[in-house]
Amino acid sequence: MMTYDQTYDVIVVGAGHAGCEAALAAARMGCRTMLLTINLDAIALMSCNPSIGGLAKGHLVKEIDALGGEMAKNIDATGIQFRILNTKKGPAVRASRAQADKQLYRLRMKRVLEQQNNLDLKQGEVTALYLEDGELRGVDLKSGIRFLSRTVVVTTGTFMRGLIHIGLNNYPGGRAGDQPSIGLSDHMRALGFQVGRLKTGTPARLDARSIDFTKLETQFGDDPPQPFSFSTDRIIMQQVPCHIAYTNPHSHDIIRSGLDRSPLYSGIIEGIGPRYCPSIEDKVVRFPDKDRHQTFIEPEGLDTVEVYPSGMSTSLPIDIQIAFYRSIVGLERVEIMRPAYAIEYDYVDPIQLHSSLETKVLKNLFHAGQINGTSGYEEAAGQGLVAGINAALRVQGRESLVLGRSEAYIGVMIDDLVTLGTKEPYRMFTSRAEYRLLLREDNADLRLREIGYQLGLVDEQEFARFSEKRSKIAVELERIAATRLQLSEHEREVLARLGIADIQKGTTLEHLLKRSDICYDDLAELGHVPRETSAVICEQVEIQTKYRGYIDRQLEQVEQAKKLESTIIPADLDYVSVKSLTTEVREKLSKYRPDTLGQASRIPGVTPAAISILSISLKSSSWKGNDEQCIQ
């Protein structure tokens, strides 16, 4: 084994959506960083759907951007359709989504990495971590080279012992067309990691030339397209539509006829798949009464005929795939360019992680992305960013970054993972966030920009722009609270036109804006908005005013939970010594080893009584001597 002659601060293993963010963050924070990948031509490749965002995922992307990550900028530069979802619902559950030009997305990310100072890009397969006296020192590659590093971030995606299934045929692979990573997961198991197996799948890629789009519904993006990044002014890419098609009872018969050759139903696949993203055979079996299933036919790029039929992933044999896709109206003559497949891969139970994403088993080792049992590019990127940041902070001897559940979806996700672990691929939903009204896309910068700036990931120019926005919002909020209606002739005229009669002289604009039948534009109509106020400021002021009551309610809840969240449980606490706990609870706590009382309270089966006992026990450092005090 040859040892490379320089030592890195951070080595990132894997250059998917997690690895790219991790490497960029570490390098931008000034660390000597290396990004290792099995295939340099597959950096930031969208292995599944060619899109970014969606409910809760859009939120994650905006947070990544606010913290100084790259994903939002990358999709803004390469997106070919942008839509805001849930526009008819409230601001907290509105989310951005975009179709990407898959190749452009990958190439732009590679270019950004290549242009980054402090960052080396290398191709190679890591087979083992290199330890000295039980401490992490670097990584060993299949090619016989050893790279030394102070910290390592592992982001292996679906590559560890990846096994691809098409019908009853299966073969090792990290993704269609790429070799798997063999050896690393066995090595990690030997180090004491709990390695499990998950499954995911992807639909076939179809040839657009063989599809009759006149028979499909067309879905255009928003005009003008709204960017993800707080730093992007406007989208300049050409925009294209998606199309909507439906399966029918005949399609379902075809699927049923192939179930005997399904690796899923014949028990060949052991890994657990995502319930929220079932294969088409799963949908047909579990919802037999549904006579049609919807699919969005998404373009994979501007320069390709490949299209992606969303929601139609399958591991059925190829003959069934052909027959089934062709049973869909408009796809009668469709040609499959790449078959659909399922993939099984190894993951490491995330309850073995701290909230910083550092492993509890091995110091200076961080995990991010699918290795932690998540699914989705955005989930991966969010973790990658945090892992990269924390690896860099470790190198710099600074305290790690832990985002709270009330601060960011990223915080909710990581807390869920490290507290509860996961048995199926974990996806973000807005309903996972108890403080959903606080965690909006529109205020991601207000929540996190400052943190990104402190870390050195948000540059001066970006931060100045943000600071200006923030102060303008504050000024405008103050102004509408202080400005009162005089009920001038003009005001009365406008109010009458709006059908509003019950307004008294002296009512503040703030009060007026709280009404459900008044919006910010009406204030402008009344002549009460300075002309230079930008749309972003108007939006913020309107949301913050209209939802003040709800927002305050949530802030109150955050405050109440703070005590539990901030009570640290010592890492070396011996739960066996806490005899008052039931055996069941003691076993759970010993297994999960929560960092805080808040985390402990979220572990299923840990009763309120147990939390009380723990709380008491943590308060009295020595129970023996404090009996009287405790009992009083």
């Binding site: 619902k89 559950v93 969005f296 309903s431 709800y550 109440q560 806490v578 706990l581 039931t582 009380s612």
Partner: protein, 455 residues
């Protein structure tokens, strides 16, 4: 472990009873048993088996009492610690002697509620159960005991779980439409959501309606006796007490201060307050008594207005009428053995009317029943089925959940889904706090401070 020492206490009610139980909890329980208890049959103490024998002073060898002893090894015991129970004869003297003997083995006397506290801390019982046990400790009457036991059986917990089930169901429906806008889910199933929330509201309303009854059973009620001088208030009090507590004379104005006594009517604890007769007077002391009586009126759960049925409705009766307006009152017509002269104006203002002869006690039992009927609607129902909410904390939580659900229902048509979800979540959280799901330190502090007050 949090609590290491061994404790002992008499766990049967004070006074003379059929048997008296001395309970010992902690590591020393078995040692204490071996020291003071000599079983008739050899073999010593076997866990969860009663054995018969004598309690003997280990120093002098003198037998104190015949007794049954049972040893329960941890964790299969009430406190999840080793427990020894000595069931001896219930005479007060014997029980005290045995306790002294047990304590002489080097263990200490338990604090009030300490067994239950240990049971809670050791995870043997949950919050509701612990609070209910505390109610038993401090319960003032049989009804309170029954209520506490019902609660301890976890009946309330079950109803709360039902509510949570409905709310979780409704919330899941709402969340689906938020998180999956592109997923062809069809129209929002408003009716299912409404139905689930309706069921939850129905149960909560039912539970809330039992709160007042629960409070009454736990804390008892206060009953104020008012009337003009010499209407027979003090005689009535004595009849209700079965003793000569108040001084009865024929001189009006004898009762100048408020006399307070606690009795039990059909298992309901009743605090009786006898007051000065209400009339115009120049006597300063008596005036003070009257104004105190009047001040008590708004605080009482029930007022017994005593009228002399043998006299006509007079100016003094009118004074009482004025003072009672708007308060829950039963008209008690005394001296019904004499020819009736009294005509009560506006009889509809009274909850009920009943006649007595305070001097002989005629009609007093019936009066007791009338009083109870005002508070215990379900006395006839099977008490084991009776679910009542008796703690203010539970009531507050359910009231808050109810408000959230009302807000939810009123906004179901026009409010944003995520705001509706927030209402449901808040309701769920409030309901969860009843079963201790969000039990915070403050709740704990509250419980433990309550334990020390008890008994």
């Amino acid at each position: 472990m949090y609590i290491r020492d061994t404790i002992a206490a008499v766990s049967t009610p004070p006074g003379n009873g059929g048997i008296g139980i001395i309970r010992v909890s902690g590591d020393q329980a078995a040692a204490v048993g071996n020291a003071v208890f000599k079983p008739v049959y050899d073999g010593g103490l076997v866990s969860h088996r009663f054995s018969f024998g004598t309690i003997t002073d280990p120093v002098t060898g003198v037998a104190v009492d015949e007794a049954m002893a049972v040893y329960m090894r941890a964790p299969r015991s009430y406190t999840r610690e080793d427990i020894l129970e000595l069931h001896c004869h219930g005479g007060w003297l014997v029980v005290e002697k045995v306790l002294a003997l047990v304590l002489s083995c080097g263990i200490r006397l338990a604090d009030p509620g300490e067994f239950t506290r240990r049971a809670f801390l050791n995870g043997r019982i949950d919050l509701i159960q612990a609070e209910a046990v505390m109610d038993i400790i401090s319960s003032k009457s049989e009804s309170a005991l029954q209520l506490a036991q019902t609660q301890r059986e976890g009946v309330l917990s079950k109803r709360i779980e039902d509510v949570r089930g409905y709310l979780i169901r409704a919330l899941a429906l709402v969340e689906a439409y938020i998180d999956f806008p592109d997923d062809d889910l069809g129209e929002t199933d408003v009716e299912s959501i409404r139905a689930s929330v309706g069921e939850a509201q129905r149960i909560i309303t039912g539970l809330l309606s039992t709160f007042e009854e629960g409070r009454v059973m736990r804390d008892g009620i206060s009953v104020l006796i008012v009337g003009k001088p010499n209407a027979g208030k003090s005689s009535l009090l004595n009849r209700l007490l079965n003793e000569n507590r108040a001084i009865v004379t024929h001189i009006p104005g004898t009762t100048r201060d408020i006399i307070e006594e606690t009795v039990t009517f059909e298992g309901l604890a009743v605090r009786l307050l006898d007051t000065a007769g209400i009339r115009h007077t120049d006597d300063l002391v008596e005036q003070e008594g009257i104004s105190r009586a009047l001040a008590k009126i708004p605080q009482a759960d029930l007022i017994l207005a005593v009228f002399d049925a043998s006299r006509e409705f007079g100016q003094e009766d009118q004074l009482i009428y004025d003072a009672l307006t708007g308060h829950r009152t039963i008209a008690v017509l005394n001296k019904t053995d004499l020819p009736r002269q009294l005509v009560l104006p506006d009889e509809g203002r009274f909850l009920a009317q009943t006649g007595i002869v305070a001097l002989t006690g005629d009609g007093v039992d019936q009066l007791k029943q009338v009083v109870c009927k005002q508070f215990l609607r379900s006395t006839a129902s099977d008490s084991r089925e009776f679910v009542a909410l008796s703690r203010a904390r539970h009531r507050d939580a359910l009231v808050s959940a109810q408000q959230n659900l009302q807000q939810f229902s009123s906004g179901l048509r026009d409010r944003n889904l995520e705001l509706l979800a927030l209402d449901l979540r808040s309701a769920l959280q409030a309901v969860g706090s009843v079963v201790g799901q969000t039990a915070t330190d403050e709740v704990l502090d509250h419980i433990f401070s309550s334990f020390c007050i008890g008994k």
